[in-house]
Amino acid sequence: MIILALCCLAIVDGLASDDLYFNQLEVPETKSDLKAIQGALIENLEACKAATVSIRIGEGFGSGVIISKDGLILSAAHVTAGVSEEMTVILNDGTEHKAISMGLHSGTDAAMLRIDGEGDFAFVEINKDNDYKLGHWVFALGHAGGFDLERGPVVRLGRITMANESTLHSDCKVIGGDSGGPLFDMGGLLIGIHSRVQASVEQNMHVPMREYLTHWDALEANEFLGNGPYAKPKVKGTGFLGVALSDTDDGLMIEEMLEAGPAAESGLQVGDIVLEFEGNEINKKEEFQMLLKEKASGEKVEILVLREGQEYVIVVKLGGK
């Protein structure tokens, strides 16, 4: 009876990676070893695919993986690129959801985001034991090259080729658009998130789950962690528009403009009268400057202007000072 009960427990909990016999072999030796690897992959593939999403920011694409029913997503810091940013999550059927980035770690490339609003999403479980080992078989999913409805997420098989504290390496081949996508063990548990590659197709790097679990509370609390290369913090007051403004009888007018500066690039024109900045009515130059001081380089702002009797909403991506 006791033995039976333990068996049931093992089945309910799912198999740990090391319990899968093919993970204990140095290499698969027979056709049945190969079929066992293939079988484990196919058994978990549909559920893992269902939780893999594409993330669109402007015209850039990354990937992510849903880890809770209500739409919590893990991805890479260089995908979300900041905290509290708006982005679009695309499910495999093409449905789009608005999402907000949460915390990130700029030194390890870990990031979290959530789908805005209610939902009942397909999700995967995290391997919280981090019990993967060198040589374990793994598979990668992601929207390589961006979202493609007909193609769906792309799966790639490989092995863990190196594992250290902050990086997992595998020979699952990943490419642009896969960033932030999931790496699974053969039990279908999430063990890593795609981060970067080197020239050889065998060199693909992933952020291990440990990095997310260690900083979980900070990621949930929208914190910008670390001082690494994968994301740059936004600093208030660094936003640069590239215009000279003057108070006139008609209102606040753009008097001069830096050629090829952020304002010129956005389509603002000399002579435009500024009516609103981010929905705030503007009458005087100081009001405008105070609001601009709250903005950081790289942020997008909406400016309502009056031009030849017509109102235009112009979106400007602020440059750096």
Binding site: E26, K31, D33, L34, K35, I37, Q38, L41, I42, L45, G58, G60, F61, G62, A76, H78, L134, G135, A144, R151, G152, V154, V155, R156, L157, G158, R159, T161, M162, N164, T167, H169, K173, V174, I175, G176, G177, D178, S179, G180, H194, S195, R196, V197, Q198, A199, S200, V201, E202, Q203, P229, Y230, E265, G267, Q269, R307, E308, Q310, V315, K317
Partner: protein, 350 residues
């Protein structure tokens, strides 16, 4: 030192920024690379390592008999690509565009070299050429599958080769089979539009010396229609341009301030079709020149090169599920599915 790329798909104008980030990443990764040489999984145990290949000996033997090594040099020494043996009386398929214009053509099946090779026919839709040799003994054609292979299954392809021995490479079926169409036009006007969806038809930049600049278009102009086609989705412009050739003109209606204007723009040839993901894939040299415009392909993750396509794609049972037709990117190789291949063979041989 090798290139490290952060793997978000971004459009060309973001490349510089990302490369700058990537350079920082390289420095940061340096110590780890040293460590990897000491503690990584031995190369022979990796998914395309020698010891893993040993488990695929049964499939390798089929490649030995049923694939052809194609040479385009006079001395039959440098492999150009592979072929698929499809009939015992000497019919072989290969990738047409890779042998187009080759002065010499020879092939090897097993260890037997054939220097008399007839080019019988070409199918442009699939980029397949039908070759014919006079075999010294009946050949062993591939056993073509009757249905599509399932996602996630192992597939086996030709890898490298010696004069007497075919080697292999392995992967899995990676994504849904589908039509592959070019996502870019051959021609450009020389304008760059805003990245922001809300103002996507506003010109952000005009390239120097190209049609748009010569016609007088300026940054800030907002496109309304091209050749009478109203622009709504980004796809709309692509569709207008796709049928055009360099030197053609298109009529552009656009707003400058509040004024509706019209200009004719002369189209130029797109200079580079190279995307950032192409770069990440090792550049054009690693990829098949023709890697799009196929009616339907199987998509697998086997790391082939442009000189290792053309051969059969086998499943674990040694059944031929397709013919490798293009190395498409770092993560993708395309194969003509067996179902379409069957029809193609009978069409070409008739």
């Amino acid at each position: 030192m090798e290139d490290t790329h952060i793997i978000t798909s971004k459009i060309a104008s973001y490349v510089t920024i990302l490369f700058r980030i990537a350079l920082v990443a390289v420095t940061w990764l340096m110590p780890m690379q040293i460590a990897s040489s000491q503690s990584g999984l031995p190369a022979e145990q990796r998914i395309n390592g020698k010891r893993v290949w040993a488990a695929f000996e049964e499939q390798r033997e089929i490649l030995q008999r049923s694939s052809a090594v194609i040479y385009t040099d006079e001395k039959s020494r440098i492999k150009s690509l592979y072929g698929v043996v499809v009939r015992e009386d000497g019919y072989v398929l290969t990738k047409a565009s890779e042998i187009e214009g080759a002065a010499a053509l020879s092939l090897r099946i097993g260890s037997q070299l054939y220097t008399e090779v007839e080019r019988l026919a070409v199918d442009d839709d699939w980029d397949v050429a039908l070759l014919k040799i006079a075999p010294v003994e009946p050949l062993s054609p591939v056993d073509l599958a009757d249905e599509d292979i399932e996602l996630g299954r192992w597939v086996v392809s030709n890898g490298s080769t010696t004069r007497s021995n075919r080697r292999l490479r392995v992967g899995i079926v990676s994504a849904e089979s589908r039509e592959i169409t070019e996502t870019k036009s051959r021609v450009v006007m020389g304008v760059e539009f805003e990245k922001d969806e809300a103002v996507k038809w506003r010109v952000a930049n005009v390239s120097k010396g190209m049609g748009a600049e010569e016609a007088g278009l300026k940054a800030g102009d907002v496109f309304v229609s091209v050749d009478g086609v109203d622009l709504v989705e980004r796809q709309d412009l692509l569709e207008v341009l796709q049928g055009k050739l360099p030197g053609d003109n298109v009529a552009v209606d656009f707003m400058r301030g509040s004024e509706l204007m019209n200009l004719d723009v002369n189209l130029s040839e797109r200079v580079s079709r190279m995307t950032r993901n192409d770069q990440m894939s090792g550049g054009e040299d690693q990829l098949s020149a023709r890697r799009s415009e196929f009616p339907r392909v199987l998509h697998h993750d086997t790391p082939l090169t442009k000189v290792s396509v053309g051969g059969p794609l086998l499943d674990l049972d040694g059944v031929c599920v397709g013919m490798n037709i293009a190395r498409a990117s770092r993560v993708a190789t395309f194969a003509i599915p067996a179902l379409e291949l069957k029809a193609l063979i009978s069409g070409l041989i008739e």
